[in-house]
């Protein structure tokens, strides 16, 4: 066992983990953060995307021990004071989900995308979501939701 200290969604956790534990399993099974999901075995789908020190990563492809001393934000940590995050709100308004399985990862990657490039073109939105697969929507409304949030920010 290896002792790790990880801040998750603003809360500090100290836990003993087996070194082989994947970050996504630590989040789900040790911390009960089941909002982050696993969709594949190959690190292709992006459903498990979280932020590590503010940048998106696939939490199925990071060991929990690699997050020691770092900060993780999951889909469960982005709403504030009972209000949905603007990206969550936009996914809701634009009907950017059907079954919803890809949604936690899609939203976390979309937030990273706008942090990196606040005014993306449609092509840049699609490229920025390249590592997130959706089997239902055909992506169109997802792209609309991200563009809507970018537009709101631009207008501020």
């Amino acid at each position: 066992m290896t002792r790790i200290t990880v801040t998750v969604d603003g809360q500090k956790n100290v836990d003993d983990v087996e070194p082989r534990t994947l970050l996504v399993h630590y989040l789900r099974e040790t911390l009960g953060k089941v909002g982050t999901v696993v969709g594949c075995d190959t690190s292709n789908c992006g459903a498990c995307t979280v932020h590590l020190d503010g940048r998106s990563v696939k939490s199925c492809n990071v060991l929990a021990v690699q997050a020691d001393g770092h900060e993780v934000t999951t889909i469960e940590g982005i709403a504030a004071n009972g209000e949905l995050h603007p990206m969550q709100q936009a996914f809701h308004e634009c009907h950017a989900l059907q079954c919803g399985y890809c949604t936690p990862g899609m939203i976390m990657q979309a937030i990273d995308l706008l942090n990196d490039n606040p005014n993306p073109s449609e092509a840049e939105i699609r490229a920025g979501l390249e590592g997130n697969l959706c089997r239902c929507t055909g992506y169109h409304n997802i792209v609309k939701a991200v563009a809507q949030v970018a537009g709101q920010k631009g207008g501020e």
Binding site: T2, S56, K58, N61, V62, L63, D112, E130, G131, N132
Partner: protein
């Protein structure tokens, strides 16, 4: 899937990492960004007894200048390279290729050193590093040695880095003012290169003064298209001249045949992508 159990160490210096490697012998494995190694461990294609995480070694990260050379720490991530003005200015070809690797999440974790030591022939980092005539600095129990990129890649997934050694930095001669383009051919988003061509070109007085061309996935290692480079040098930048020079891009290559295409298809692709990459690099 979950990796088999292993012992984990996270040294904070290169010296401590080398000591851990010496102790672990061939049952130890180095972990960089983990974007190739963790999938391998999860599929249980490998089950090391000890994993040595380089993530806490600050001296292996960062991009600096040493006279006419750019020095990149092995643990520098793709995202750090993409954000670097030094890389954009002096090694535009590296930037162009790295922008095509995988997806943003993987580029936040994956490192240049990990990609080079992993040495997947379809990986996008080898060809630009080879084309830019980089030197690779390898550190082992006996100290440091430097290997030219042309001697670094030995075979599929095999490099000059020994089991008791680490790749510590990449030294790239500055190619300031050279045009650059990476043409990666894929069928779907987020795919490994079927073939890709890395081209960097120095234009002077409207002529091609010098051109360097690297090929991805045209053999068991990254390759240089030497005959194209020779044909371009001193020649015109116009489309017909570039197309004629590019016709020999597949000479001496030995590309794989697989579900994405057979060897002849890849040889044809190499000529087309070389033409496109050179024309993009000269800006026409």
């Amino acid at each position: 899937m979950i990796p088999a159990a292993f012992d984990y160490v996270a040294p904070t210096t290169v010296a401590d990492a080398l000591a851990a490697l010496a102790e672990g012998g061939d049952e130890a494995k180095v972990l960089a960004g983990g974007q190739s190694l963790l999938p391998i461990l999860r599929m249980r294609l490998n089950a090391p007894e000890t994993v040595i995480d380089l993530g806490k070694i600050e001296e292996l990260r960062g991009i600096s200048e040493d006279g006419d050379t750019l020095v990149i720490g092995a643990m520098t991530t793709y995202a750090d390279l993409l954000a670097s003005d030094l890389v954009t200015e002096h090694a535009a070809l590296l930037r162009a290729a790295i922008a095509e690797v995988a997806d943003p999440q993987i580029r936040h974790r994956g490192t240049i050193g990990g990609a080079l030591v992993h040495a997947d022939p379809a990986g996008d980092v080898g060809a630009p590093v080879l084309a830019l005539d980089a030197d690779l600095v390898i550190t082992g129990p006996g100290g440091e040695r430097t290997v030219a990129a042309s001697d670094f890649f030995e075979d599929l997934f095999t490099t000059a880095v020994g089991e008791d050694e680490l790749l510590t930095s990449i030294r790239i001669p500055k190619h300031t003012g050279w045009g650059a383009a990476y043409e990666k051919f894929v069928r779907v988003a987020h795919q490994w290169s079927i073939v890709a061509v890395a081209a960097t070109v120095k234009v002077a007085d409207g002529q091609i003064a010098e051109a360097k061309i690297g090929l991805t996935n045209m053999g068991s290692t990254p390759l240089r298209a030497a005959s194209v480079e020779a044909a371009l040098a001193g020649g015109s930048t116009d489309a017909a001249a570039v197309a004629a020079a590019s016709a020999s891009a597949a000479d001496g290559t030995n590309p794989p045949s697989d579900l994405n295409g057979d060897a002849d298809y890849r040889k044809h692709l190499a000529t087309v992508l070389t033409r496109r990459a050179v024309l993009a690099a000269v800006g026409s």
